[in-house]
Symmetry: C2
Subunit: 166 residues, 2 copies
């Protein structure tokens, strides 16, 4: 397998996680963590289900990876995530000293890796992360677009029904 | 009670949490979350004990507050924490839409509220937080200084012993 094929393989696993989130009615974002060629942790957004603000895909994957490695240091680990991490998740990635981050779609409103900040490459911090973006990017962003389009459609329909009733 | 006395009361509760961390051999950082005049959640740093990178005082308090409120939105909640929050915790604070943050000591190396970044007051994000710093600041920073001084002393002693042995 080429390096690109390997990245796509792990991103497909992250996309499968995102689908799990979607089945729960959550914004479809998924992540996996890879160590030594193996997926050691995975996570999908479950903020609404558990009403916990920290339950982002990356955070859940990082917590699981810490348990799997028996260490809060994930120095030889790579994170694959379908959407550009937010500030909280970027902070956790730096704190955990994750080596490489590969993400799919950019998040212009809240992304803290390339969009609003470059938190994974701040030389003032004690760790910097190698970042590659756009891995299966179209697929990752299409999934989100479809999700939000469906929500808008449902809301429009509900408004129409209310108007028809009243 | 004056407003200052109220802030000091809650910061003393955060300091008590920090002492709990210290008893576990953890860096002494503590936090409490207040809603409607009551402490609804608390947390102290337990990163080493659980080998989980997300177990910062603020994160544990935020998770507990979400459970207490039954919501990931902590809009009417205030956070008191002995040390300036890092990037991860600042991200969680913004995501949770916490109203006010009161912290004790500045963290020039990793603080993301005033020192390295001003993440709680970024107009591009969908929430900004009112921040006050220096609440019982001397006490909060002295506790950390004492902790690190004791660690350095233990390390120096260990080196001396090794040299004497060999």
């Amino acid at each position: 397998m080429t390096e690109e094929q390997i990245h796509q393989k792990y991103m497909r696993a992250a996309i499968a996680e995102a689908h799990q989130a979607q089945l729960l009615g959550e914004v479809p974002i998924g992540a996996v963590i890879v160590h030594d060629g193996k997926i050691i942790a995975c996570g999908h957004n479950m903020r609404e289900k558990f009403q916990d603000v920290t339950y982002h895909a990356e955070m859940l994957a990082i917590m699981e990876a810490c348990a799997a490695m028996g260490s809060w240091r994930l120095e030889e680990c790579d994170l694959y995530v379908t959407l550009e991490p937010c500030i909280m998740c970027s902070g956790a990635i730096v704190n955990a000293r994750i080596k490489n981050v590969y993400y799919g779609a950019k998040d212009p409103k809240a992304g803290a890796v390339d969009s609003l900040y470059h938190l994974l490459n701040d030389q003032r911090l004690n760790h910097q992360v190698h970042v590659e973006s756009g891995i299966l990017g179209t697929q990752c962003s299409q999934m989100l677009k479809d999700f939000f389009r469906a929500i808008r459609k449902r809301k429009k329909l509900a408004r129409k029904k209310r108007r028809a009733r009243g």
